[in-house]
Amino acid sequence: MNIDIQAIQARIERESAFVDKITAEVSKVIVGQTYMVERLLIGLLADGHILLEGVPGLAKTMTVKALSAAIKTNFQRIQFTPDLLPADIVGTMIYDMKNSTFSAKKGPIFSNLVLADEINRSPAKVQSALLEAMQERQVTIGDTTFPLPAPFLVLATQNPIEQEGTYPLPEAQVDRFMLKLSVGYPERAEELEIMRRMTSVELPEAKAVVTPQEIINARRAVHEVYIDPKIENYIVDIVFATRRPKEYGLDELADLIAYGASPRASIYLNMAAKAHAFLRRRGYVTPEDIRSIAMDVLRHRVIITYEAEAEEISAEDVVRKIINKVEVP
């Protein structure tokens, strides 16, 4: 097999030109959080929804808003509350007095970028309505089905603390998110800069520098990023190691994993790694891309046992051990 790597490389260079612009705009508003910004771009390029987890005040919402502002696109924020209804998200049929007919009133989900803030504050039926729309990329109101706009990306946030009165997302629902990000605190210097910037007279704003079409073109280029069979096997090895750890010399994990990652993990690892390579302006995927993205793809897909919880071993610890053990091609 002979791949025209130079042609791919040239296309990647061309289509990835917007990455610097969008990063620069977002960094006008957001200090640091390069990991979160990069992962949001990966979600955008690989067409995968993202779940952001972190304590309040880490600029999760602000980052998403800045990203949407940098793209000439629609953005909707839905604050999930216990009394939210599915119709509040997807829309409903309303009666038109003038024409004596029912017409569809589209909900806030009909947007390119949707921020589902504190998704675990609403009951299961509301979560299901959102997650079904995420999966199907269409919404049915009354007897009419409406496709969701492209690009369509849901960025959901949840707070790992204050678990009282929340409705944790079931494993099957969490699996629909391509990435689950664990957002951490900024560094000291970053914190200083955040403080200065946010207390200045004029609050910084991001301007639209990218069109949705550029994103769609970039997505096509991401699909063309070459992934070698050796890398594909590496992905499958990592995913299989979550299911059959003993076969990979990880006997100590056998009793710690209740359920390994689903085939969706392999698909998303592949796609996210391609997007990661694209962001590095590379026309092919390397093991570095896989290792870089594996934790975010797998941490919510590996279900640990009670024994692991009792020993205070998290799913992240398990995934880390697997990544560090599986041989790089």
Binding site: Y226, K230, T286, I323
Partner: protein, 302 residues
């Protein structure tokens, strides 16, 4: 005073014990009779000996002992009898002794009894006839002892097992010594060649540049594998599961030489392109990185 009294009591007790079993009832002061059984606790499958002893001072013919019957026994069987006469001088006095012994075997567990027997005798000097009665003896019959031959098979089996175990241990030791000797010999042999020499040989085995139809992409993969294994062994680093980008950090942590780090990354980055980009790698590139690795293995010493 008190000490003297205690000593007197002890001496008296000793004298009573030294006198032996109390004599049976006698009409004549000159003759004594005693009945004893040995042992007093007899296992069911063993025998005991009941002894009737008559003793007097003087000549053996001084008294005529009339024949007496065997004693009546309960829970016992008399299986043998014996009698003996003896004369000896004790403390300058001639003593005559006549003994009758009955060997008895128990019938069942529990208590067994030997009834007293009446012994009649005549003092030849006076012609007077007397009679004596021995005391009733009791024996306790206890559980039978194992017969010497009954556990012979068990003893033989244990002996055989013991012998087998000893043989097994010896064989294992001999084998372990041989294996250890072989291992040491192999180690000595390996120590004779350095790590660099070892991996130089492996490189030549894995990548043969003289082959006209060389699989260049596969050769890059094997070459980078040799390099990773060499560095992993040299610096004890987990380089097998590390990406190229991680190798630099790991080698720096291990305080590797900067030039070695640069050479390593030059090889691995080129190998990554060859392995993962899908483009057909050039043979000249393979030869270039081969030379770098060869010089790394040639110039570094352990």
């Amino acid at each position: 005073m008190r000490a003297i009294r205690s000593a007197a009591v002890l001496i008296l007790a000793a004298m009573v014990l030294a006198a032996g079993p109390l004599p049976a009832q006698s009409g004549d002061e000159g003759i004594r009779v005693s009945a004893t059984a040995t042992p007093l606790q007899v296992p069911q499958n063993r025998t005991a000996v009941v002894t009737i002893r008559l003793e007097w001072a003087g000549d053996l013919n001084r008294y005529e002992i009339l024949k007496f019957d065997n004693p009546l026994v309960e829970n016992l069987d008399i299986i043998a009898t014996a009698s003996s006469n003896r004369v000896q001088v004790i403390g300058g006095v001639q003593m005559a002794r006549r003994e009758s012994q009955y060997t008895v075997r128990p019938d069942g567990l529990g208590m067994a009894y030997v009834d007293g027997i009446v012994i009649r005798y005549t003092d030849k000097t006076t012609g007077q006839e007397y009679r004596l009665t021995t005391s009733r003896l009791e024996l306790k019959v206890i559980d039978p002892l194992p017969e010497p031959g009954s556990y012979l098979w068990l003893v033989l089996l244990l002996a055989a097992l013991g012998a087998a175990a000893v043989t097994w241990v010896l064989v294992r030791r001999i084998r372990a010594r041989r294996a250890e000797a072989t291992r040491l010999a192999r180690e000595q042999q390996q120590q004779q060649i350095s790590l660099e020499e070892k991996y130089s040989l492996r490189l030549k085995e894995e990548v043969d540049l003289h082959q006209p139809e060389l699989d260049v992409s596969g050769s890059f993969a094997r070459l980078s594998g040799v390099l990773r294994r060499y560095l992993a062994e040299k610096y004890s680093l987990p380089l097998i599961s590390a990406t190229t980008a991680q190798v630099r950090g790991l080698m720096r942590e291990a305080e590797a030489d900067e030039r070695a780090i640069d050479d390593t990354l030059a090889i691995l980055e080129q190998a990554d392109i060859a392995k993962f980009s899908g483009a057909a790698p050039q043979r000249s590139e393979l030869e270039r990185v081969y030379t770098i690795l060869e010089s790394m293995l040639g110039s570094t010493s352990r």
